[in-house]
């Protein structure tokens, strides 16, 4: 099977996902991803000419709520699972936005 997922693509994906990979892992994932994506090629051979495109499995729609205030967590509950807090705030190291 041809390799459609290059190491460069794995590199950029890991950056987007903020996951650091070793050289070995990059090699390994490039291969594994290629075989997964390669499987899509097989699906592509199916005839879907008369099947409409969809992003969803149900026909559900308009599942909405009325504009009504419901009870919230209190501050203590909100911060309960955080190790780093300060005066009612979550505290994190300063990060410059990359966008």
């Amino acid at each position: 099977m041809k390799k459609i997922i290059t190491k460069e693509l794995i590199d950029s994906l890991s950056k987007l996902a903020k996951i650091n990979l070793t050289k070995e892992q990059e090699e390994k994932y490039a291969g594994e991803f290629s075989s997964i994506i390669g499987y899509m090629d097989e699906i592509k051979t199916l005839d879907v000419e008369n099947i409409p495109e969809t992003a969803r499995v149900t026909d559900e729609g308009n599942v909405l709520r009325e504009d009504k205030i419901e009870p919230s967590f209190d501050q203590k509950q909100t911060l309960k699972n955080s190790k780093n807090t300060h005066n009612g705030y979550f505290l994190v190291p300063q990060i410059l936005k990359e966008d």
């Binding site: 950029s12 987007l16 992003a55 909405l64 709520r65 909100t78 979550f90 505290l91 190291p93 990359e98």
Partner: protein, 440 residues
């Protein structure tokens, strides 16, 4: 221009937490699993926020996507706990509208609905640079209005943005508080040599753009754009291309500064949010939204100009919301019935000469207060001249001042005559008589 405004719904966009980040007593009190981005939480869209977005789109002359959806926009930042923002990608609620400015029309590319992020406060604590996060603002409904690249000057950008704020406030869907960040302006600026324009051919956009972000006043927007035009002109004249980047505006130094350089296009990996089923507008629902749409604000001003000969520049100062404009309409009808001048009324209100509050006092009180203020007593010119002669005689200094060109003493003299006569007389009539006498 890209303009964001926080909608003033009671609850947040995808959960029932209170939408009131600016008045919260403490940080992180209007929060729940949904707006904290906890795993397994299920967002449900706020119907009113959707209806308001469509209302805004209609007021901007947009077409409405009868089938629409929410998408996930992925990026990592501490104010966005889920790792994605729920927004709209290829099917915004509204698209293809227009806003009139005195410089020409500006096309509206799209109006879409998304959620706001949490608020970060950058601080140094114990010598460490840290950010404090408050999620009271997280998932507050936020509309984004994107214009076509059809704005050609800083003045037009300012007028366009002000007009949008006026329209949004008129619909009463957002406070547009610029100082607190309830409305945020963003300008994308690039320059092009007009000589390269080929006749009858649409210009292609320049191959770069500079984003001017986090602007919290119209004046700063204007000054920031002015600065960019100068800065970019200089670079282009040297034969170089300005760097594609995001810049902020420093009001004290009156200049823009680099915030971050953009390397390549951002990759947000948008995809339809599987938690949120799509939205379909049927005729009934669309009809309900349309019937709640007030008369377009531009039409209100044109109607008033036509019916009452009042200047839009003055009436614009008097109200914000459609409900308020309706009350003004009733006041104007009432004034007209009593043969009182609407133009004089709006000027008196704008100049704060009437002790009334248009939207507190009732119509009768308002009209009566105005009536009293313009009421004049009956008195003949002949009778008036007697009082004028008397006043001029005992105010020789004022007379001398007037003759030496200090015409503002007329206010004083007219006042003295009215006091002497114990009558209220129209100022114009009185000053004309006094001038005649002084010149004779």
């Amino acid at each position: 221009m890209e303009i964001h405004a926080e909608l003033k719904t009671l609850s947040k966009m995808f959960c029932g937490c209170k939408n009131d980040p600016f008045h919260a007593e403490k940080p992180n009190i209007y929060t729940c699993p949904v707006c904290l981005g906890l795993p397994g939480a299920l967002p449900v869209a706020n119907k009113k926020a959707i209806e308001w977005t469509v209302k805004l789109g209609l007021a901007l002359g947009c077409k409405i996507n009868l089938f629409s959806k929410f998408d996930r926009k992925h990026y990592f930042y501490p104010d966005l706990p889920k790792g994605y923002q729920i927004s709209q990608y290829d099917l915004p609620f509204c698209y293809d509208g227009k806003v009139k400015t005195s410089f020409g029309p500006v096309g509206i590319t799209r109006v879409h609905l998304e959620e706001d992020t949490g608020k970060l406060i950058h601080q140094k604590i114990n010598g460490r640079d840290v950010s404090l996060i408050d999620f009271n603002r997280s998932s507050v409904p936020l509309v984004e209005i994107v214009s076509e690249p059809e704005i050609y000057s800083s003045a037009q950008a300012k007028e366009y943005s002000k007009k949008l704020r006026q329209i949004i406030r008129y619909l009463d869907i957002s406070d547009c508080d610029m100082e607190k960040g309830g409305m945020r302006l963003e300008a994308n600026i690039s320059l092009q040599d007009q000589r390269s324009k080929i006749k009858d051919q649409k210009l292609e956009l320049p191959n770069y753009k500079v984003e001017l972000k986090n602007i919290n006043s119209f004046r700063y927007l204007e000054r920031g754009i002015e600065y960019e035009i100068e800065r970019q002109t200089e670079i282009l004249n040297e034969g170089k291309t300005p760097v594609q980047e995001t810049r902020g505006f420093n009001a004290e130094k009156n200049m823009t500064f680099t915030q971050r350089i953009k390397e390549g296009a951002a990759d947000y990996r948008y995809f339809p949010d599987p938690d949120l089923p799509p939205i379909r507008f049927n005729e009934k629902w669309m009809g309900e939204i349309k019937s709640s749409e007030p008369e377009l604000i531009d039409l209100v001003f044109t109607r008033w100009e036509k019916d009452y000969k009042v200047d839009r520049k003055i009436t614009e100062l008097l109200f914000e919301t459609a409900a308020e404009s309706k009350k003004l309409d009733e006041i104007f009808i009432n004034l007209t019935k009593q043969k009182l001048s609407v133009d004089k009324f709006v000027n008196a209100v704008a100049n704060k000469k009437l002790m009334i509050d248009l939207f507190v006092n009732n119509i009768e009180e308002i009209v009566n207060t105005f009536k009293k203020s313009v009421a004049v007593d009956e008195i003949t010119d002949e009778q008036l001249r007697v009082f004028i002669d008397k006043v001029l005689l005992v105010n020789q200094k004022a007379v001398a001042d007037f003759k030496s060109g200090k015409t503002n003493v007329m206010n004083f003299l007219a006042g003295m005559v009215m006091r002497e006569a114990k009558k209220k007389v129209e100022f114009g009539r009185l000053s004309k008589l006094i001038t005649e006498i002084l010149k004779s």
